[in-house]
Symmetry: C2
Subunit: 316 residues, 2 copies
């Protein structure tokens, strides 16, 4: 049976949090609530055109070669042999440069929408590698740690880039995320520059003891184990000084019974893993209080893990 | 109810394989078959005496201060406030210096036996840290990666040494080990000396992508995933030249459908993870063939994972 082709598709791609402490560059999870709403529509050979971007405070480029959504889209359309010709509309229902995977959500949404538009020739898992191409524009490197959870939902491990393999992990029902996004700017280039190029083998061993144990915690519904296995001996020590009051915020999260706390992606957002909604709310308030007291505006997100990933909102 | 105290206890502690490729210093599993048979008996204040060691070809020291079993035993007896006075008999039902956790089996067996002798005041998981003291004699460092699986059985992660935490992981039913022990000598000091002190962060990231994914494979009964997640970018490249014909043996293991293959502990044994007994037998034969053709004697062990760990054989 030939699959139906559509003239216009509107989708949602969730925000996501990469790293989760010990799992730098390999772990990621999808958030419930924030994300990108993206529509693509056939435009009869007019080329790849960004018709509108809203919710971005005018910060994103409408030039197709500069926007992560259209860069990813172009590589995908080439791959499936379809014309590089669509109208694209992007609505950011999430902050930019926050550590919440904004560029990933755009790339995921655009590629996922185009796939549906053409009758879903590829599976979601197969779309990840094309969406990754958008990350090259955003950060200079094709990363999948935000792309994979935004596309697939849930919690993902990027096991290997070559050959490319992503593994989806079950999520404990009681796991909630409390995330605070302070309105400060951390340049991705700075966040990369402070990282050590070399690390001690013995430090790496402690780190992979934690990455392995974090996955054991996910499968065994042991949120406390997940939390303490987030401990990161390499990235957090290098990056924490880029985020004002980071240590105080983390201290408050743990004092209020967060199971674990670390930097969300490259920051400046700070993410806490919590056992249940009521703890997550308390933790979110306590984290925001630190920024309030220090006159830094911030936004809190309290959410379970989004298990669906990218999904269709509307088809025409 | 006061627990019964015994005058003599005979126990078995299984051999074990540490590292499993990507999980250097943190992963370990227990083997079915080889191990140590150890008896301890009250000797009415005569001190800690090794009465007999058999199966060791005369290689092990009977001086209590030099033997891993009695060193671990002494630290344990001090900890539980019992007299440092037992007769100890050790029968090695496994090779020494093989990468199969010989010193760990001795330390585990001795501490476990003494705990039972005194009415089991501590749980098995609590005994691990005392058995570890024996590893200080064997390798200069208190390691738990062989101790934990020999004591607890199954597959273990040493998440953290300080605070000390070991996590036990479920084992896929169809998982079999094929291990070949070539009769060549690899000094533990050489095996340590060839390791890099520093590694690239980007290499460490690839490694912990694998440690995390290996645990996902264990929980999801995906032995193929376990196998390919054994890939080790750090230790195997440094150590493989210490083991003659290592690459050929590994090649034969994988050609014969092993899911993964790596160095067992510090070597010289080579361990393959296999999906089912019949593959394990074929893999064991193929690995041994390489040594046979090159006139190196070897022994093959085919076994499921030992799920029991240390256990009592006899009480008097």
């Amino acid at each position: 049976m030939a699959k139906k082709q559509w003239s216009s598709i509107k989708v949602f791609a969730p925000a996501s949090v990469a790293n989760l402490g010990s799992g730098f560059d390999v772990f990621g999870l999808a958030l419930t609530g924030p994300g990108d709403i993206i529509s693509v529509a056939n435009n009869s050979g007019k080329g790849l055109i960004i018709k509108a971007i809203t919710g971005d405070k005018g910060l994103l480029s409408k030039v197709a070669e500069e926007n992560t959504a259209t860069v990813a889209l172009k590589s995908f359309l080439q791959a499936i042999g379809k014309p590089i010709s669509l109208d694209v509309r992007i609505h950011k229902k999430m902050p930019l440069g926050s550590g919440m995977g904004s560029s990933a959500a755009s790339a995921v949404g655009a590629v996922f929408a185009a796939n549906v538009l053409y009758g879903s020739p590829l599976k979601k898992a197969e779309l990840v590698r094309w969406a990754m191409e958008g990350e090259r524009v955003a950060s200079g490197v094709a990363h999948a740690d935000n792309i994979a959870p935004s596309m697939l939902g849930g919690f993902t491990i990027v096991r290997s880039m070559d050959p490319f393999e992503v593994i989806q992990i079950p999520v404990p029902k009681r796991m909630y995320i409390a995330l605070v996004h302070p309105y400060v700017h951390v340049r991705t280039s700075d966040a990369r520059a402070v990282l050590p190029k070399n690390i001690l083998l013995k430090t790496a061993i402690r780190q992979w003891g934690n990455t392995a144990s974090l996955i054991a915690g996910m499968y065994s519904n042991d949120i406390a184990l997940v939390g303490r296995s987030m401990e990161d001996f390499i990235i957090e020590p290098a990056r924490k000084s880029l985020i004002p009051f980071y240590e105080k915020v983390k201290e408050q999260a743990l004092l209020n019974a967060a199971s674990g706390c670390s930097i969300a992606g490259a920051g400046p957002s700070i993410v806490a893993i919590c056992d249940g909604l009521s703890i997550a709310k308390k933790v979110g308030d306590a984290m925001q209080d630190v920024f309030n007291k220090n006159k830094i505006k911030s936004q809190v997100y309290i959410s379970p893990i989004d298990l669906k990933g990218a999904r269709v909102l509307n088809k025409k």
